[in-house]
Amino acid sequence: MPAVWLLAAWTLLVGLLTGCGQAERADLVIHNGPEPETIDPQILTGQADGRIASALFEGLTRFNPTNGTAMPGLASHWEISGDGRTYTFFLRPEARWSTGEPIHAEEVVWSWRRVVTPATAADYSSQFFCVRNGRALVNGELRDPSLLGAEAVDARTVRVHLENPTPYFLELAASRVFFPIPRRAVERWGDQWIRADPLPCSGPYQLLGWRVNDRFRLRRNPRYWDAGRVDAERIDVLSGDNPSTALNLFLSGEVDLISDRKIIPGELGPELARRPDFHRFDYLGQDFIRFNTTRKPFQDARVRRAVALAIDRERITTRITRMGERPSAGITPAGTGGYQPPAGLPFDPQAARRLLAEAGYPGGGGFPTVEYAFNVGSRIYEQTGVEIQAMLREHLGIRVELRPLEWKTYLAEMSALNYDFIRGSWIGDYDDPMTFLDCFLSDSGNNRTGWKDARYDRLLREAASEGVPQRRAGILREAETLLIAEAVPVTGLYSHVGLYAADPRRVAGVWPNRMDEHPFFSMRRIRP
């Protein structure tokens, strides 16, 4: 019958369609997690996005692959003034774009001025608040970008003036938003300059191809100043959403490195962490709970403290998350920038019950039903919620309903203060406690608890302008104690643990570090 032949012909044709696109395997295949929203270093916010951008571009400094600290990048060396407020960077003479033009200091300064211009709509332009006039420019109070505290002293020298001595400025300079971008490309292509072809790159790799939801094809950039050190000629960076599939790809040898924890199956974390090809590390992030301090019952700080005292964090980390996270009632992970946070409230059900009775709800009597909200991103959040529900029922006699929310709804409700208590987390932008603590300033958009405290604001301002590290740490500890032990608009649960997969027999040049930075220039494929 003709229909059968038609069907056969169709199948053949379609089969041919699937056949194309099968190129040779790259030297290194990396699984990067979900498809990046953008790889433009000035406007990106996601981690997966940032990894691609740091393959293609570089900043004045770059991250040390072994420990995530800053080391020379496009700048070969720098000078810091005595008061810590002026940095002078000296660009390498061999620093050039992959298309051949040298990278000048004017271009660096021009790039920075572009970031702080509100019209660029750069979400991370807040990183420039430490630079003089940065905040005012981003807020629109000042309109002239040339007022930014950065200037090109000559073709090879960039001078930066900071508002305060900022001990982490060198790490900031290595972050994506500080990358110089190719001025010529932007002037020619405008906002979509990142789609330029050829794309001028300053980093170890160039962009050969970008297939959405599939992969980025990278090729070694011979004009990179450190090109001699770059080993892999071709790298494929895959994008995908399914952790089980990523795991299968890794175990079958099709993928050499999984760089994002999101794409590793959460339930198997503990088993996987025991293998030699999976690497566990303490990560710069914290999971915590936010309380809505603008309405009952969490208006009362005693109630908040009671709940914080009734949560057995160790039970959560041993039974639910099981990756060896450090249970912590604080906000700053231990060891951030060498800082040791205060202990915070312990697990003490008796003290919790006393406080609750003091607040007017003895034994939980008369306490309204409250809702614990969380985003449905991971089963872990749901499971944590179930544990918290059980703990509060058992130790305090209060009734908690679970309220799973889809991501955007979660963000909207949190910002609108339309919740009782809600799951929260924060990943540090740089290795210093300030990135965690300044979330809860009275005017910070990150606060989202309705809590305002003039003393807390004052302490943080003092710490910012304090030059001596020990004194600064002391002030920060005082502020954090106020945050997590006295007022408790938030209470920590545990510090994050990162996980990545790299078979030591196949890949080298990747080390675990707190910042979770794995620069491309050091990666090597081990050939048998």
């Binding site: 449905v376 544990e387 339309n418």
Partner: protein, 304 residues
């Protein structure tokens, strides 16, 4: 002959009972419904209680093992069956109500009304229904959930289930409408209905007293056949994160959770096998009952 001593229903019942697969399916369904309904009570296990023995394989204390919170899986599977069957049944009922109404009006009215109504069905058939369901569920969460949470927190999970049933039912009525319309068109020409029309019987009574009893066979068949698709759709929603919410569970959500057990590292097989096995059993039972009903109401000569 019209009005003979053995009513069509009686005949169908006899034919149905002769079909062994169908009867077996019915038995399975009844047992499952019973187990789900009173099982947890009889066994005395609380499906929501977090225990200390987490991720335990099946054993003496927990016949189907436990999940990550130490909750007994058998109890959760029974509760899940309850919810899955409820969602399936009510969803199918919703689709029935809309489908029957639509189909009868189209078939009885005929002419242009029929053409337009069916054109709408054609149009709707070609839409990605998953969008409406996602929209519906999210809008429910956003709009109503907040209000109910404050005043009647106990009612919220039930209301959420109701919203889901309505959403699912409102995207599954299309086939039902087509079938009912076709059947109405056929029946309309039958003498007893022609007579009723000629006598000037009012439309509502015409529908209820004369048409509906003759449609009941078809309705029953398609009702039984649409329950499985609603149940599967719900499991798909759970996979996406839009279905039943914790701490409730449906078979679909248990399976969606258990699907992650299909990995080469560590397979906690009980978390997938029991819910999936039970759902497969239920779906197979529903299908064989539906097939049996259809064979009973529309017998073919020479068929099994």
């Amino acid at each position: 002959m019209i009005g003979s001593s053995s009513s069509p229903g009686r005949l169908a019942l006899e034919r149905f009972l002769r079909d062994r697969m169908a009867v077996a399916g019915l038995v399975v369904l009844v047992l499952a419904a019973l187990a789900a309904g009173i099982g947890p009570l009889l066994l005395g296990i609380d499906p929501d209680r977090a225990g200390d023995l987490a991720l335990a394989p099946p054993g003496a204390a927990h016949w189907m093992g436990t999940d990550i919170h130490g909750r007994d899986l058998l109890a959760r599977v029974l509760i899940g069956t309850r919810i899955s069957l409820a969602v399936g049944a009510v969803g199918a009922l919703v689709s029935l109500m809309i489908g029957v109404a639509w189909g009868v009006v189209a078939g009885a009215a005929g002419g242009r009304t029929d053409a337009w109504l069916m054109r709408v069905v054609d149009g709707l058939q070609a839409l990605p229904t998953v969008v409406w369901v996602m929209l519906g569920m999210t809008l429910f969460e956003a709009g109503l959930a907040g209000r109910f949470a404050q005043r009647w927190p106990d009612a919220l999970p039930v209301l959420r289930l109701a919203a889901m049933m309505i959403c699912l039912g409102s995207v599954s009525w299309l086939t039902m409408a087509r079938v009912i319309r076709a059947q109405t068109l056929v029946l309309r020409q039958r003498p007893f209905l022609l007579a009723a029309t000629a006598l000037g019987v009012p439309p509502v009574r015409w529908f209820l007293r004369h048409l509906l009893p003759n449609l009941s066979g078809v309705i029953l068949v398609y009702l039984t056949l649409s329950v499985p698709s609603v149940v599967l759709y719900e499991s798909f929603l759970s996979f996406l994160g839009l279905g039943v919410r914790p701490p409730q569970a449906s078979l679909g959500s248990l399976i969606a959770d258990g699907a992650s057990q299909l990995n080469p590292i560590r397979v906690r097989w009980w978390l997938l096998v029991f819910p999936a096995g039970l759902m497969a059993l239920l779906l197979a039972a529903l299908n064989s009952v539906g097939a049996g009903l259809r064979a009973a109401f529309e017998p073919r000569e020479g068929s099994r």
